[in-house]
């Protein structure tokens, strides 16, 4: 206990020292992409991590734009970040046992701390890779990683950017912020209870698979990508899941495809697209034998308006998943041999860049619906479903303030109208959907 409290004090002191560096030095430490290019964060990001059109150009060209002309990176492109958070949700302290015996599960200091290697390696090779300490799980692991080679040619007088990506999360290589790896709300409470049902493509395969893909962006109009992934439980993909327990074990290859249309006119940009994957996954706890098949396809769209101090973004994502329980149904893990699941995510963001910082907010709507399955979605206090339905829906209200471009303070409120199938007594133990309403305060610093 004493060692833990001493550790917390030392951590606070260290963070305070870093903040003093920021304010006193003026020059400050900067994220690696900013250092490499000499551009401000605002060149590539509206409000980080969301990308501007120039940011998408930087990414699709392999993270290699540099103010230096040398073949190899001028300096090792290292950056860091830390997230500190506070969560309020009914009965939170009764449900979560902090590993360090702290008196409350509400404070997560840190929620997460990461080191990044981000930028040019050499020539046309670049990388975004994140090593993360999870302050709730008390673990260190390789996080999102995207290693690229990119080049371009002229095709009949029109430009074609093409490249290869090695990554460990379907959609991490995507250019728009409508996809699960980089979508709103970008960060959320690590300790709050959340709906039971979710599609596989919506983050379940992050660092559970590793793979390689090719992509092409023609005339800044049509983007296409095709990847194939394998389990990080074994084989050549194993390093891409370093530090992560592979709990979702895929069998064989997981193909992923992406197609997007983009149009830019003045301060406006619009993207409409689709993406999807097919994954054969062993039932939980198994690493061989029969598998269940998940077929996901998605439609998405993003509109951005960036002019002067005004930043407007609207995003929409619809995911459909077909679940064939070829392995789980015979085992008695599901009531149905197949189910369908559908997810909607919509959000509207406005931020204003003032002299005192960037200030703004987001209103978002989320919904998951699908076939009832009383075995898959069984009653259980807090996390279960009294009706066997996966249905959950609600809103997210978020305010954000960035006093400087690499420090973000977020106040987020998640409101549940329906949770695991019902508005009232959803778990069969008297808990209502609104009991899971969550207040989340986040301080997010990039170095």
């Amino acid at each position: 206990m004493k060692e833990t409290r001493l550790g917390r004090w030392l951590l606070f002191t260290g963070l305070l020292a870093l903040l003093v560096f920021f304010f006193v030095s003026g020059a400050g430490a900067v994220p690696s992409f900013k250092r490499q290019t000499g551009m401000s964060c605002a060149a590539c990001h509206t409000v980080f991590p969301e990308l501007t059109p120039f940011g998408r150009s930087f990414k699709v060209n392999g993270y290699v734009f540099s103010k230096h002309t040398r073949t190899f990176a001028e300096r090792i492109p290292v950056a860091a970040m830390i997230q500190l958070s506070y969560t309020e949700q009914k009965d939170l302290d009764n449900r979560v046992n902090p590993f360090d015996d702290s008196p409350t599960a509400k404070f997560n200091v840190p929620q997460q701390a990461s080191l990044f290697y981000g930028g040019k390696i050499a020539g046309k090779f670049g990388v975004f890779s994140q090593l993360t300490y999870d302050g709730v799980e008390n673990s260190i692991s390789l996080d999102n990683t995207d290693i690229r080679y990119a080049d371009h040619v002229d095709v009949g007088g029109t430009p074609l950017v093409y490249g290869v990506t090695v990554n460990n999360n379907p959609t991490v290589s995507d250019l728009w912020n409508t996809t699960p790896a980089w979508g709103f709300p970008f960060s959320s409470s690590p300790v709050a209870v959340t709906p039971a049902a979710g599609t596989i493509i919506d983050g379940a395969l992050a660092q559970q698979v590793g793979g390689v893909g090719i992509y092409a962006f023609w005339n800044h109009l049509i983007y296409a990508e095709a990847d194939v992934y394998g389990s990080t439980n074994r084989g050549i993909a194993r390093p891409l899941g370093a530090g992560t327990t592979t709990e979702t074990v895929v069998s064989g290859a997981v193909p992923y495809g992406r197609l997007a249309l983009q149009h830019q006119w003045g301060a406006h940009s619009l993207e409409l697209g689709t993406y999807g994957l097919v994954a054969d996954i062993h039932p939980s706890g198994l690493t061989s034998g029969p598998t269940d098949r998940f077929t996901d396809y998605t439609f998405d769209g993003q509109y951005q308006f960036i002019q002067g101090p005004h930043l407007v973004t609207a995003q929409a994502t619809w995911i459909h998943e077909k679940q064939d329980w070829d392995a789980s149904f015979p085992l008695g893990n599901t009531a149905n041999s197949s189910n369908n699941l559908e997810t909607w995510k919509l959000n509207l963001q406005y931020h204003y860049r003032a002299d005192f910082g960037t200030l703004g907010g987001t209103v978002a709507y989320f919904s998951t619906t699908g076939d009832s399955d009383p075995v898959l979605y069984a009653p259980e206090a807090v996390s279960g479903s009294n009706t066997g339905s996966p249905e959950s829906r609600g809103f997210i209200l978020q305010a954000a303030y960035l006093p400087m471009e690499n420090l973000k303070i977020v106040a987020q409120y998640v409101i549940y109208d329906t949770f695991n199938g019902s508005s009232t007594n959803y778990d069969g133990s008297g808990r209502d959907a609104s009991d899971n309403n969550t207040f989340y305060l986040l301080v997010w610093m990039m170095f």
Partner: protein, 115 residues
């Protein structure tokens, strides 16, 4: 595994110090050229012809400062506004007045054709 706050600081602090210590830039002569090469050449190219490394993924292409039509359509106030507020894919640049003046002078003297 015990929570190791020392390890967290070992990860974060050296990175922050390294980044801070290498992030300082000093003044030098040729301010306009320096700023152009750092911030503008990605899109507009080292030769100002709109063919920088990023240009291939942009539609429309970045402005060609060698083209007399650019100078006919864009006077100094308009160029200043574009630098400060951005335009299309071009981000806004938060530069001091003397920096903007320096880079505008560099673009004009280096790339504008004088017949």
């Amino acid at each position: 595994m015990k929570k190791n706050s020392f390890f967290i600081m070992l990860m974060v602090l050296p990175a922050a110090v390294l980044l801070w210590s290498t992030g300082v830039s000093g003044k030098d002569d040729g301010l306009g050229k320096k700023i152009y090469n750092e911030k503008c050449q990605f899109c507009h190219g080292i030769k100002g012809n709109g063919n920088g490394p990023a240009a291939a993924s942009m539609n429309p292409r970045p402005a060609d400062f060698n083209d007399p039509r650019f100078w006919k359509k864009n006077d100094e106030p308009k160029i200043l506004e574009t630098i400060e507020r951005g335009h299309g894919m071009m981000p806004a640049f938060d530069m001091k007045p003397d920096e903007i003046k320096a880079v505008m002078g560099y673009i004009s003297h280096s790339f504008k054709r004088r017949d």
